[in-house]
């Protein structure tokens, strides 16, 4: 499809042409200042091809197909590859390029930020901990939109207390044998692979006895059951493992190193992914502002939500720049998550206040979108480490208040 599609997209021009006629693949290193206008122009030029084929939110199936389409088109032009290491199919350059790409796709409504950001959540850690050959073989598939990956961390008995996880991986002659259950696994029903945390030590080994694996979701013994949620989508799933065999060479890091993998990965949930989500919220505030009836909201309440989103942007932007200089992210990203969750709920409270009739009673596509997003925003203080867990991290790690009781 790609050659034909590319020819269509470019109207016969070279698929490699970018800003000023230079080929992006020939320009290294790509700097953000050059990347930004070139990408913007490409997005503008290919607006029709990139746009969703559905109106409104679309079904989850449609959203996932849209995500794959956009990734593929952006990959073929090189955009998707900038900011990722060359050893895994990237073109190198700063991680800021990735942050900008996701922002640009999100604010144009081309991708759902959650689905898109799985790349940012799982990618960096998988690349760091997988065998180099495995990372090189697998990662480009995620980048190109050929595959969907999911993150198997939470379990029915393990929500906030991640170190208590019980999904068991046992050594056998054929590899790891996995039995247990995960829950809240986003996009598992679409996923080709899963970054899975398993218990390999004794049940009471806590964070010491955890091992991370990179598994094929098509393996025999895996059952996925999507969970209906209050916002109407079914992106979260239960995943059941019944004696699933996973080769040893799919271990991420060493046996017993799973906690480090998790601790490296979790800050990524709170960095580039949040930058993308912040861009989405900003877009929705602008949508609200352009449609809200005169007098429905006070200037003060609108101003305050703008300030919250701005403070989030300022903080998250600084995090992006730290990441780009190679700084290792840690507990300070909990500040970003708290700002995001607070701002997201404030924004959709404002939506409910300003467009109450539409959100509560409306049935057209726009109402449905507002309603779905309003309901989803209720989870902002729950998913990705609850508001309480983030505050515990801030208290213990940033304020040095010692252990809680």
């Amino acid at each position: 499809m790609s050659e034909r599609r590319r020819a269509e997209l470019d109207g016969g021009r070279s698929g490699l042409s970018a800003a000023g006629g230079g080929t992006i693949r020939g320009r290294r290193p790509m700097e953000l200042d050059a990347f930004r206008p070139a990408l913007d122009r490409w997005l503008e030029d290919h607006e029709t091809a990139l746009a969703p084929e559905y109106e409104g939110l679309g079904t989850l199936d449609e959203q996932m197909a849209q995500l794959a389409k956009v990734k593929r088109l952006a990959y073929d032009e090189g955009w998707m590859r900038w900011g990722w290491p060359e050893r895994v199919g990237g073109l190198g350059g700063s991680s800021l390029l990735r942050a900008y790409l996701g922002e640009a796709l999100t604010i144009r409504g081309l991708v759902d930020p959650n689905g898109y950001s799985m790349l940012e959540v799982l990618g960096p850690t998988m690349i760091d901990y997988a065998r180099p050959e495995l990372a090189a073989a697998m990662f480009p598939r995620l980048l190109r939109g050929d595959e969907t990956w999911c993150q198997g961390f939470s379990e029915p008995g393990t929500g906030s207390n991640l170190a208590s996880l019980a999904c068991r991986a046992t050594r056998t002659d054929d590899g790891w044998c996995i039995s247990g259950q995960k829950v809240w696994t986003s996009y598992a029903q679409y996923a080709d692979r899963c970054v899975l945390l398993t218990r390999t030590g004794a049940p009471e080994s806590a964070h010491r006895g955890i091992t991370a694996l990179f598994i094929d979701m098509a393996s025999p013994g895996i059952t996925v059951r999507p969970l209906g949620t209050m916002h109407g989508g079914a992106e979260f799933c239960e995943v059941f493992f019944d004696e699933v065999t996973v080769p040893f060479d799919r271990t991420l890091g060493d046996e017993g190193q799973g906690w480090s993998v998790a601790m490296d990965l979790l800050p990524f949930e709170r960095s580039t992914a949040l930058w993308h989500r912040g861009a989405f919220l900003r877009r929705r505030l602008e949508d609200l502002l352009s449609t809200v009836p005169v007098g429905a909201l006070t200037p003060g309440e609108v101003g305050e939500v703008f300030q919250q989103l701005y403070a989030l942007r300022a903080r998250s932007r600084a995090t992006q720049h730290r990441l780009a200089t190679g700084e290792r992210l840690g507990p300070e990203t909990s500040v970003d998550k708290i700002l995001l969750a607070t701002a997201e709920q404030s924004l959709f409270d404002l939506v409910a206040a300003g467009l109450g009739d539409d959100v509560l009673l409306g049935d057209d596509l726009s109402d449905e979108r507002w309603r779905t997003q309003f309901l989803y925003s209720r989870a902002a203080t729950i998913y990705g480490g609850s508001a309480e867990i983030q505050r515990n991290i801030v208290a213990r790690r940033l304020l040095d208040l010692g252990a809680d009781q």
Partner: protein
């Protein structure tokens, strides 16, 4: 621009100056240290360093006056708008100006005062103005209330005022952040030392979460400040001031609760930070009015300003 080493030296000498003195003595010490020169050569370093330290030490100086004067390129004390406001404090009628505003201690010491009006910035003789030292909730900040109806001279374009407001807002936002950090530090010290039910109160989640929220508020303000310096516009300076004001009130509320009884005594320094925070929030636009104005501006265009690109 100061390099890293110079900045460290500068910060150390400022810290020393601020540790032991406030008011006139601190102003003299700043003169001696060459803070004015620093303001001219590296405004961000000079302002952020001094005002955070000043806020943190609960000290007062008239450096805010220098920040505004420098921005307007005038050599006289500057009349600030009344509390909560950013619009010019003067109104010109014919050849005279009617003034109603506030000032730092610099206003009492100088011969000339600069008064921004709707259409021009004018200079008046200080002796012609009525100056009343402000007691109020925080006498130690040493503000003066300015009023008068006097002949004025030497006009400058009114366009220099918004930049001066923005420069002052950044300084005040840094001072608020400094005060907030010190307040949180007081609460932290108390929470880890105060034992109840056999353990430090810092072990209780309700206490920890108030302090975590305080730090989040401070970091948000601090990020908004960094962004404003980088961006350089009046819009982002106002945002930083509004966010810092709200943040400081949040921190004061949570930390007062953590400090509980001891924080309510006059012997504990908490009340001085609370008092200072309330007044600093009011200078050059309080959070409430800045936020209201921002909302009105957003409703005018019904678009978000495009700020802070990656």
């Amino acid at each position: 621009m100061m390099d890293r080493e110079e900045l460290e030296l500068f910060r150390a000498s400022l810290r020393q100056a601020i540790a032991g003195q406030t008011g006139k003595a601190l102003d003299d010490a700043l003169d001696e240290l060459g803070w004015r020169d620093a303001l001219a050569s590296d405004r961000r370093a000079a302002v952020s360093t001094l005002f955070e330290l000043q806020g943190s030490a609960n000290a007062a100086s008239s450096a805010l006056d220098l920040v505004l004067a420098k921005s307007m390129n005038v050599d006289a004390a500057v009349v600030l708008p009344p509390l909560g406001r950013v619009d010019p404090p003067g109104e010109v009628t014919g050849e005279s100006v009617s003034v109603h505003g506030l000032g730092t201690a610099a206003l009492e010491r100088g011969d000339k005062a600069v008064v921004a009006c709707e259409d021009a910035v004018v200079v008046v003789d200080t002796k012609d103005l009525t100056l009343r030292p402000v007691g109020g909730i925080d006498p130690s900040i040493e503000l003066v209330e300015v009023s008068g109806d006097r002949v004025c001279s030497t006009t400058q374009p009114a366009s220099i005022w918004p930049g001066a407001v923005a420069a002052g807002q950044l300084a005040l936002a840094h001072e608020l952040v400094g005060a907030s950090r010190a307040t949180l530090q007081l609460a932290r010290e108390h929470a880890v030392e105060r034992i109840q039910f056999g353990r430090p109160i810092a072990a209780f989640q309700a206490v920890r979460h108030r302090m975590a929220d305080s730090l989040v508020a401070i970091e948000a303000a601090s990020a908004a400040l960094d962004a404003a310096w980088e961006d350089g516009s009046a819009l982002t300076a106002g945002l930083a001031k509004a966010i810092a004001g709200r943040s400081a009130r949040t921190v004061a509320r949570h930390c007062q609760q953590v400090l509980a009884g001891i924080g309510f005594t006059a012997e504990h320094p908490f009340h001085r930070y609370l008092r200072r925070t309330l007044v600093l929030d009011g200078l050059l636009g309080d959070t409430r009015s800045l936020t209201h104005q921002l909302g009105e501006d957003l409703f005018k265009t019904r678009r978000l300003p495009s700020v802070l690109p990656l």
